[in-house]
Every structure is written in C-alpha cells, then in structure tokens.
Symmetry: C2
Subunit: 495 residues, 2 copies
Amino acid sequence: MSVPFKNKTVLKILDYYKNLWTLSYTSAIAHWDLETYMPAKGAGARGEALGRLSVIRQKMFLDPGFVALIHKAGREKNLTDQERGVTRNLLRALRVYEKLPSEFIENFERLTNTATVVWRSARDGNDYKLFEPYLTKIFDMNRKAAEYLGYKDSPYDALLDQFEEDLTNREVSEFFGEIKDPLKNLLDQIMRSEKHNNSQKLEKMAYKIEKLKAVNQKILSLFWADFGRFRLDVSSHPFTTSFSGNDTRITTWYHKKDFGRSVLATVHEFGHALYDLQSGPSLEMTPIRSESLVIHESQSRFWENFVGRSESFIKYFKKDFESAVGQKLSTQDIYSYFNNVSPGPLRVEADEVTYHFHIMLRFEIEKDLIEGKIKVKDVRDVWNSKMKEYLGIAPRNDSEGVLQDIHWSGGMVGYFPTYSLGTFLGAQWEEVIKNEKLIINNYDGIKMWLKDHIHKYGSTYTLPELLKKNKMKFDLKVNLNYLQKKYGKIYGFKA
Amino acid sequence: MSVPFKNKTVLKILDYYKNLWTLSYTSAIAHWDLETYMPAKGAGARGEALGRLSVIRQKMFLDPGFVALIHKAGREKNLTDQERGVTRNLLRALRVYEKLPSEFIENFERLTNTATVVWRSARDGNDYKLFEPYLTKIFDMNRKAAEYLGYKDSPYDALLDQFEEDLTNREVSEFFGEIKDPLKNLLDQIMRSEKHNNSQKLEKMAYKIEKLKAVNQKILSLFWADFGRFRLDVSSHPFTTSFSGNDTRITTWYHKKDFGRSVLATVHEFGHALYDLQSGPSLEMTPIRSESLVIHESQSRFWENFVGRSESFIKYFKKDFESAVGQKLSTQDIYSYFNNVSPGPLRVEADEVTYHFHIMLRFEIEKDLIEGKIKVKDVRDVWNSKMKEYLGIAPRNDSEGVLQDIHWSGGMVGYFPTYSLGTFLGAQWEEVIKNEKLIINNYDGIKMWLKDHIHKYGSTYTLPELLKKNKMKFDLKVNLNYLQKKYGKIYGFKA
C-alpha cells in the first residue's frame, strides 16, 4: 500500500480524531469490563458514565473547527482511497450527530441502560409484560430517531443505515423474499428425510468447563499464535471487541452441556477478531479500522460454518472434545452434531438452515413496529405465531421466545438483518477461497487471503465497493446452493 | 448526616463535575485492565489513550464557566462541611491545572508511560544504566513541575503536596528524624536477641496457587460478604481501585512460595478497599470520595498489621494455610512467620520494623535529587550505601536494589513518605478502637467504627481536620510504643 494519508486536511482531521478515538477506546474497555468482570452492582455508575461519555464525544465531534475540516475534506479532489474512506465515514457520523439532539442521545443511552437491566429480570422471570413498557419507549425513540435522521421510503431505512451504510428496507425485504421459499423447501426435505436425526445425544452430553476452556484456548492457539495481542474471556453472551489491532478480545460461553455451542461460538468470535487483528496498522486510531457489520458477520460466519463445522477441524480436535466430555466420540458423530438441522426456539442455538427464519421473524416484527403496522403489546403474539408458521414450534415461555435477545433492550433496531446478509456473504468468501485452491485447513493461507482481500482495508471501502474491488457481486444463490448440497448429502437427498 | 449539598453554586459544580468524574472513572477502568488482563502489546494504544484522556480532562476542568463557579464557591459563606470539602478539593486541583501547561502534562504522561516499560526491562535485566536516562528526565520534569506549582521552602514541598495536601519537607524530615533512632535501637535489640529467628522456614514453603486463591477469597468473604460490589484479581503488584462504592476492586499476587506475602497483601488491599466501599453514598461522583493517601494507608496498614498479623486471624485460617502448603503448621509457627523481623533488600517484603528504613532511604534520595544535592547517576551508589548503613545489607543486584519500585518510573516523586506516615497513623486507629473496647476479631464492629469515624466522610476533611474531628493528634509515639512492646515480647526483651 502506498502512503495512505497525505492530504493536509485529512491529516489535520486524523490528528483531532485521536481524541474522539480516545473516548471510543475507553468506552469499549468499560463495555468489555461490564460484560466480563464487573461486580453486578457496578451497573448504575457504569451506565451513568457511558451515557455521559457518548455526550462528551458528540460535543467533541461537533467542534466547529473539526466540522469545517470534515466538510472541507468532502470537497477535496485526488484523495487516496483511505482518505476518501475517512471522509465518507466522518460525514456519515456527522449527519447523525448533527441531526440527533444531544439530550436525545443522552436519554436514549439512559433508557437502554435501564431497559437492559429490566430485560434481564423480565427474561429470567419469563415476564414479557414487565419489559413491554420499555420496549414501547425504545421503539418510540427509534421512530423518533428515524424522523430526525430522515429517510426516503421507510423510516426503517434510517435505522438500517445506522448499522450498515446505505442498506434499505427494500433490499432487505427482497433478500428475505428470495431466500424464504428455497430455505423452507430445504427444511421440509430435511425434516422428511429418514436420517433426521439423532445428534441430540451429543448436545445433551455434560462436559467439564475447565477442560473445554483449555480446548478453546488450544483452538485459538492454532488459529492465532500471538496471545500478546489477543485474549479469550467468558461472558453471558459471546462477543468480540477490538481496542486496537494489538489488543483484540473475544468472549465465549459455557453451559455445562452442549460443548459444540461453546466451541462454535469461540470460532465465530475468532472470525470477527481476525478482521480487527489483521486490519492495516496505518488505520489504527482512524475512523476506518473495521465498521461494516455485514462484512464483519461474513468473517465470523465464514470461520464458524466453513472451518468450525468442517470435518478436518473436527478430526483435529476430536481427542480434545473426547477429553472434555470424558467419553469416546467418532468424527462422524461430532460432524452430525455440529451440522444437525433441527428447528428450535432459540436463535443463538440455531443451525445454518433454520437460523435465517429467526432473523426474518425479527426483521418483519421490527419493521412493522417502526412502520406502525403492529403495536408493542402484540409483539409476543406475533412472535409466537410466526415461529409456528416458519419453524412449526411454540416457545414454552418468553425467555425462549420474545425475550431471548438483548438487542432491542439495548436500543438496536435494524441490526438483525446484518446477521443473515453476513452469513450469506460468508459463503461467497468460501467459494472464492476455494477457487483459489486454498483448502479449508490451511489456516495460514486463508488468513493471508482474508487479510489481503478484506481485512487490511478496514472500512476504507463500503460493502459494495469492497465487493467490486474483489470483482464480486452479492449473490444469495451461493449460500443457498451450498446449503442445499451440504445438507442434501448429510440427510441423503439430492440437491 | 444532614443534606450534604444544598448550596446552588456547589450543586452546579457537582453537576458539571460528573463529566470530569466520567473521564477519571473510565481512566481508572483502563488502568485496572492494564494491570490485570490487557494483552502485553496493547500497551502502546493504552498509553496514548490515557495521555490524551488526561489532557481532555484538564481542558474540561479549565472550562471558564466551571472555573468561575469554583472561585465563586470559594467565596461563599455557610457551606456545609461537604460543600467546603468539594470547594477545597477543586481549588486545589485548579491550582495544579492552571499552573501546569497542558503540553507539560501530556509530555509527562508520555514520558512516564515509556519509562515504565523501560523500567521493567531494566529491572528484569538488572541494568540501572538502561533506566538512568529516563530517571534523569523524570526528576528534571518533577523539578520543573515544582517550579510551575510554586513552594515556600523546598521544591520537594510542591511534590509532597500533590500526594498529601499541605504535607511539607520539614514535617517529613522531622518525622523521620524522630523515628530513626528508636527504630534503629529496636532493630538492634531484635538482632541481638537469642530468639532471632527461624521463620525463614515457612517463607520458603511452596504452596498451591489455586488453593491460596481460594483462601484469599475466603478471607475476603469473612471481611466483606457482598461480592456484588467488590472483587479480587491478580496483578504483578497488588493495588486497589475504586470505580464507585459499588464497584471496588483489589488485586494480590502469588509467588509460589511465601504464602504470607500473598495473604497479607490481600488483607492490606482490603483495608484500602473498605475505605471506598464505606465512603458516603452521597459522595459518589463528587471530588470527595476518598483522597488522602496517608488516611488510605492508615486503613490498609491497620488491617494488615493489626488484623492480618494477629493471632486470632491466624488461628481462624490455620487449616486453610495448612491446606495451601500441604503440611501441618502450628499457630505459633505462623505467628512468628507473619511477625518475623529481618532486614532484607525489598521494601514490599519488609516487616513492620525495617519497613520505615526503606521509606526513609527513598525519601532522602528523592528529596536530595529534587534539591540538586545529588545526581541521578549517583543514585545507585547512594542507595546501596544507605542500605548498608540502615539495614546492614547490600542488594545483590539492581532489581532488588534501586530498580525495585515502580513509583519513580511512573513519575511519582513525593509519594513514598505517605507509606510511613500512614502506617504510624494506622497504629493510632488501633489504639482508639481498643479504647472503645472493640476486640480485633470483631470485624463487623471494627468496620462500623471505621465507617462512622473515617470512611463515611470520604475526603470531606483534610487529614488534620479528620484527626481533630476524632479528637486526635498525629502522635508517632503510639506506633513506636506498639512496636517496642510487641517485638519485645516476641523476641524476649523488655520495652
């Protein structure tokens, strides 16, 4: 890469930006700690501080000198790709900050901090009604945010754009429209097949947590040798956070049973982390380290689905899995277990096929709520009836139904679709990598490829730009074909 | 307590102050993480962020509207004690911020971040010369800071005041002048006694780290039941940090041998933590939660010396200690071991008697450096010759000599004396508590007393004010008498 930053205006921007970076950086540490080691009663002060930090950051961002520089950069010619990326990203953030009043941001932060606490009690007590008033406020504020931010067709567009630049309701609706029937057909074929299945046995096997912790560490050591830049912790829900390319962290979870859930979460989060670990060092402390949620999810899903669920991976760690459960297992047993398709109420436990129905359901509900077509008081009923329709199951209670996800309590509306889109894109990376004659257990080769074609750019490019640069187009058929072929083979029917 | 804050100016101050609190709070989290869980290579970005955070905080503090409010509060009459405390504390911080240029603060932060890294390599390689140029710069900048800050008698006064309000070179010199001979005599008596001693045996005993971790947790559970507000971690040097009264954390260390060192560090840090855990809830997010280092150290030393080294404590945990070392131990053995007096090169391993010679040596060196009486290039020689003079020993290398402490590399000059002063004050609390007929293993009674007489005030009062409120005066004879009596008994000579 040639010198990424040389334009004087951009250099001034990046200099000032380091202060904004400082606040995001410390906020990320505080968030990580909140999820990993914070004593429970520290939550009150933590919420207060994080709320204030957002407002301090907004004020600092809206410094008139800085805003003028951003606008000036937007008019500059002959910028490098990285400089254009910085300018694009900051103009986008500026639009949000200028449009959302600071009291709105502060109130929203406060609301979601409280709502997350209430959501936890509601979930633990299976009591949707307890959470309902907060969910009502959250959707009210999201609608208001959409009005502040502006949109062309649907207020939901404004919310989607917050998580994936320029993503629209129309695109997402078309996407789900096109995958719905093929996936439904595939699921029906699987459910009707004779081989359907059996791997419940391994799911229910108890394991020793300390042993599985060591297995997860071993897996990560194989993928990424340098623990001077990377670490693994435990949290109530797995996540990745990257303070810098030299300090990137993931978490996983342990449930006493179902070791695959912990292992695949670890591999999934590693996929996220790798993007940050391999992002260009010259992008450190700039606004373009890694942003697009769809690209991010395409990385995590690539590792989870194509590496973690692969026969070669399973074979390599077979002895370790055996040791964690204290029983003999065959590679074939574990492979079936890691690739078992079975409708269930929980998104985070869903397989590669049923997963997208979980997302579709959430997408339809949040879009209809934002567009005023349904009301929060009806969400539980809508949820349960869609679950019946798509997967043929009924959640036994709210905690495995409408209250299972943290996202809405955290204020995130418009986030879910990136999960499915990213998963589909992940399959496209696998296809390209396969065409490069890289085999799936050549981890070093794969990492190098991902670095050179995706990671090193951070978010220099938008998702469409990155695809173009790699001579690709988003093509949902790739994942559909992959699923049809793979599960046809597993369940013994033809694609 | 009646309403602590009602003055309108102070209320406005406290409202704005919450933003400053936010930055200190997040900075404290980042520091804690740096010492506990941060992957090593994260240090670069961490240093950059912490440096910038200090500058952002300084700028925010120096907001003209806020400064005007502080000055206004300084002229108000009829303030409550807490309001006076807030005003006093902020006027003090303001003096520092107004006098030290922001580039100075930033450069100092950068210097000390690098110096700490260099110090670690120098210490690990026993190479004082490697560290010398950094130490030279650090003392140069501290001298410069003293000039910026101003002082009456010695530039060292300005540095002492940063750590303990109004503490002067004259007071510290008098203090060490008065304790030097009595402690020297006591040490001579001990060294000449027949019973001197033997507890080297227990020091060198190996222990199982996981078991000792459980013992430390058990000790803390006895002292403080609520782990929803409190936690224990491991770091390379024990410390306490308090993000809020509801999120206060300590660390301890494990060295494979010498279990007392880990246990007493845990008890010591608990003493610090308790001050923060019991500070008045109405003081949360204000500048007067807990500040005075001497008061803080008096709390940690009180718990370490009077609880942790007591026979009743040892007896209570005897079985746990036995289990950690995997051997039978007598209460008397452990008591001798916890209360063994023996000159050694390391401050952090020093007993109650020799400890103060370690501090005296550092005090004399840093004072002479600041006053220009000695040069950094001579520090190692001065260190070694004073060590010989006071304790009759010669460090085998720099890592157990002049390079043993982190303080100077972190820029802290004028800090050490608070350790000895705090220890002496700790003995005074014990005397008062004993006069209240509280026995030393009545932990709840002691905690209540400490809360009502010290902790709940946070740093509403200066050290002299707090002593006055408790009808006390600083009296170094209390600790001298205690040491004479206790060690006379242990080593079999008369006080």
